[in-house]
């Protein structure tokens, strides 16, 4: 945990020496938000949200097959993750809207394309990779590179937390599954 905080501080210090334009102030604010993904409190909050979602998924009889269950679980986990982002990022908003707005999106496909000169905001070799990256992050397909990179940083930090939280829960559940004896051992101090 200390590592994560130090890296965020280092990055903040590096940013402080840059000229203070409004864009770098916004970027510094974005970094602070990103650091939140590494805190224990955030992970715990996410875990409790996730568990509540898991119970809902399990009690609903909607997913009979293993694959459907796993997919429902993944979607629930992603939605809980998006909620944790508090609507500040594009990817999180895209996830939250992914259930309802999908039909709307299809009808809006025919938009006039901007001329070729305007759509190229970076050198050609980077553009292909930029497009690939944009497809990997929800809701960021047509984003220009600077904003895309901010979304990517936040998305990666969030995914890392998601992996940590789900691994921890999986561990606890498999332990409980293996030894379902009523008196549980005192939980070890969580060192993240």
């Amino acid at each position: 945990m200390a590592d994560g905080e130090m890296t965020a501080k280092e990055r903040k210090r590096k940013r402080g020496t840059e000229s203070s334009s409004s864009s770098s102030a916004a970027a510094a604010a974005a970094e602070e938000e990103e650091a939140k993904w590494r805190t224990e409190g955030e992970q715990r909050t996410y875990s409790s949200r996730l568990i509540a979602a898991l119970r809902r998924v399990r009690s609903s009889a909607a997913a009979p097959t293993d694959r459907a269950r796993s997919r429902a679980l993944r979607e629930a986990a992603d939605r809980a993750l998006a909620v944790s982002a508090r609507g500040r990022t594009r990817w999180s908003r895209a996830i939250l809207l992914s259930g309802k707005a999908r039909s709307l999106k299809r009808s809006r496909v025919l938009r006039p394309k901007p001329p070729a000169a305007a759509s190229k905001s970076s050198r050609p070799p980077l553009e292909k990779k930029t497009r690939v990256l944009g497809r990997l992050v929800p809701g960021c397909r047509k984003l220009p590179l600077p904003s895309l990179l901010e979304e990517v940083s936040d998305y990666i930090a969030a995914l890392q937390m998601q992996v940590r939280a789900m691994s921890a829960i999986t561990e606890v559940l498999s332990a409980a599954n293996a030894a379902p004896s009523p008196p549980p051992p005192p939980p070890p101090p969580q060192t993240m």
């Binding site: 990055r11 796993s70 679980l73 000169a117 905001s121 970076s122 600077p146 992996v163 559940l173 498999s174």
Partner: protein, 120 residues
């Protein structure tokens, strides 16, 4: 002819001499959706490199140490594969979790798990 020009870039004054109408009505830097491509390119290259080096710090340690100053293209590619692997990991965990949830049936076990995970 006046009407046609007004549709494109209405802000340019009509006082400009008729010879420079053609140049005046090219996509000039305004907040229209034709982003100022050439001027923006020069500024954003630095921004881009900045953001990309910041991205490098997010990639897992093992790749960071060796690379030093990797090229932007390489970093973008590594970022893509890193996101893919993270997604795969989450999918894997979802598989395992959904299997575990199916076999667990007593509510008391769940309650204990929740208790152990939440701050008391």
């Amino acid at each position: 002819m006046g009407g046609k020009h007004r549709r494109i870039g209405g802000e340019v004054g009509w006082r400009v001499g008729s010879s420079s109408f053609a140049t005046a009505f090219r996509p000039f830097p305004s907040r229209s959706r034709f982003k100022m491509s050439s001027r923006r390119n020069r500024v954003s290259e630095e921004e881009i490199n900045e953001l990309i080096s910041k991205l490098q710090s997010l990639l897992p340690e093992t790749r960071r140490r060796g690379a030093g100053r990797a090229s932007a293209a390489k970093l973008l590619k590594e970022t893509c594969s890193y996101i893919r692997s993270l997604n795969r990991e989450v999918d894997d965990l979802s598989d395992r979790l959904s299997g575990l949830m199916a076999t667990l049936d007593s509510n008391s076990a769940e309650a204990e798990i929740i208790r152990s995970l939440l701050p008391s």
